[in-house]
């Protein structure tokens, strides 16, 4: 284990990659953009870059934003970015939208709400397609965040796809998770359900100038009062993101959560948990990739036949596929 870790911290790039790394570390946005593409597509050059850059990451604050489609995640992200910029902090934004399950095409439209950030050279926005991942992020999201972190961004905002109830990967990817709600999202039973409601460190009620906001706020507060004591009571913040209302309170809530993470020591344990999750999910992806060779696909086709025709059950077939017999 330690030898592998040491290999990363002493890893050096050479030739053109070394030159690109130097450009990236000196603030060249085009070098950053190209490296992010390689990292996103799983290109070997991306792997090498990440390996070289990784020891420089771990300094940025990461904040995730999740919530249903249309809740206002992009607009709230835009407001947060402006607030952090006013403090003089540099900002990276990673915004994920869904890929089509049929064509793998995607419309990445989160930028539409962020046009006022375009010409601030201390804000870097990257749109990602989910590319088949199901947890609300894309497989490369964490790596993209690592690179932005190594590049030197102070704060990285991660906006998930429009999430339903079960897209909870963001909680493992960001230090602080904001759940963006809106008024009239259903009755109180919705707030009782497991999943996305449980992962929020801060709850924003956006569009809170609309009727139903008071009820939403009190329903959320009632729900939170039933939570077991985890050392942090998620605050509920009223926001009208299109007017900039509530942004200050939202940033304060994020700061308070971050302070709590630091003082309780949970920042470190959460970082360990994040590392653990990333290793296991990468290992899972690698195993699958190794299985999906040409002969692996052939064996999969045969096994699928067996399962569909009921001559084998799915568990036995999966074990057989893994055993490569």
């Amino acid at each position: 284990m330690t030898t592998e870790a040491a290999a990363t911290s002493t890893f050096r790039l050479s030739g053109r990659l070394a030159e690109l790394e130097e450009r990236l570390l000196s603030g060249d946005r085009r070098a950053l953009a190209r490296v992010l593409s390689w990292v996103e597509s799983g290109d070997q050059r991306g792997r090498d870059m990440l390996r070289a850059l990784y020891p420089r990451s771990g300094r940025a604050r990461t904040i995730g934003l999740t919530g249903s489609p249309g809740a206002g995640k992009s607009t709230v992200t835009n407001e947060l970015a402006k607030a952090f910029r006013q403090r003089g902090q540099t900002v990276g934004i990673v915004a994920i939208d869904p890929s089509s399950p049929y064509t793998m095409g995607a419309i990445l439209g989160d930028r539409v709400r962020m046009t006022e950030l375009y010409l601030d050279s201390d804000v870097f926005i990257r749109s990602l397609a989910s590319r088949g991942a199901l947890g609300g992020l894309s497989a490369a999201t964490q790596d993209v965040v690592h690179v932005l972190d190594a590049y030197g961004k102070d704060v990285i905002l991660i906006e998930t796809v429009g999430a339903g109830q079960d897209e909870v990967d963001i909680a493992g990817a960001a230090q602080t998770t904001i759940l963006v709600n809106t008024p009239n999202m259903g009755d109180e039973v919705q707030t009782l359900k497991a999943g996305i409601m449980e992962i929020a460190d801060v709850l924003a009620v956006n569009k809170s100038d609309l009727p139903g906001a008071d009820r939403m706020v009190s329903a959320l507060k009632a729900l939170l009062s039933l939570n077991p004591d985890r050392g942090w009571d998620p605050p509920v913040v009223r926001v009208v993101a299109t007017q900039g209302e509530g942004t200050e309170q939202l940033v304060e809530a994020c700061d308070a959560h971050f302070d709590e993470l630091q003082s309780s020591g949970r920042l470190k344990t959460a970082e360990l948990e994040r590392a653990r999750q990333q290793i296991t999910s990468l290992a899972r992806a690698n195993v699958l990739k190794e299985l999906r060779t040409e002969s692996g696909e052939e064996r999969l086709a045969k096994l699928a036949n067996d399962v569909a025709s009921r001559t084998a059950d799915p568990h036995t077939a999966a074990a057989a596929w893994l055993a490569r017999t």
Binding site: S41, G109, I125, A129, R131
Partner: protein, 143 residues
């Protein structure tokens, strides 16, 4: 569903509307058609300055910058986008510039000289645009 490991050649396209006209129906239809052709389309919305478009193209590291103007200001705006991109190292050698809108043939020639590899006017089939992109992206210098 495709395996995400096979996505290395995913084509990324920026669809943008420079200038002041707010008619984005054509841009949206093209965006949707390219999505259905399996591409990742970054849509930036209306009323973008050339610098805003160039900056988005830079950050998103796109293969294609597709512009739409319906106000007749294409000869004014399109070359300025190419220029703003060029200042950031984004040139016709490494990025495909496409123009769309109500563009007369003689203007299309001027735009081609300015760096646009193709101009699609009224009546262009969305399938042809996707095919054009797919055919020409591999020729770009993406090293």
């Amino acid at each position: 569903m495709s395996d995400s490991a096979t996505m290395t050649d995913q084509i990324r396209v920026l669809v943008a509307k420079p200038g002041l006209d707010g008619h984005d129906r054509g841009a949206k239809i093209v965006a949707r058609a390219l999505r259905d052709a399996g591409m990742e389309v970054i849509y930036t919305g209306i009323r973008q300055t050339p610098d805003m478009i160039a900056e988005a193209a830079l950050q998103e590291d796109v293969h294609v910058v597709a512009l739409s103007v319906l106000s007749g200001a294409h000869l004014e705006l399109f070359p300025r986008v190419v220029e703003a991109c060029g200042q950031r190292g984004i040139t016709p050698d490494n990025t495909l510039f496409l123009g769309g809108g109500i563009i007369p043939d003689e203007d299309a020639e001027v735009l081609q000289d300015a760096g646009f590899s193709a101009v699609f006017g009224p009546g262009a089939h969305t399938g042809d645009i996707a095919e054009y992109v797919r055919a020409h992206v591999p020729e770009l210098d993406r090293s």
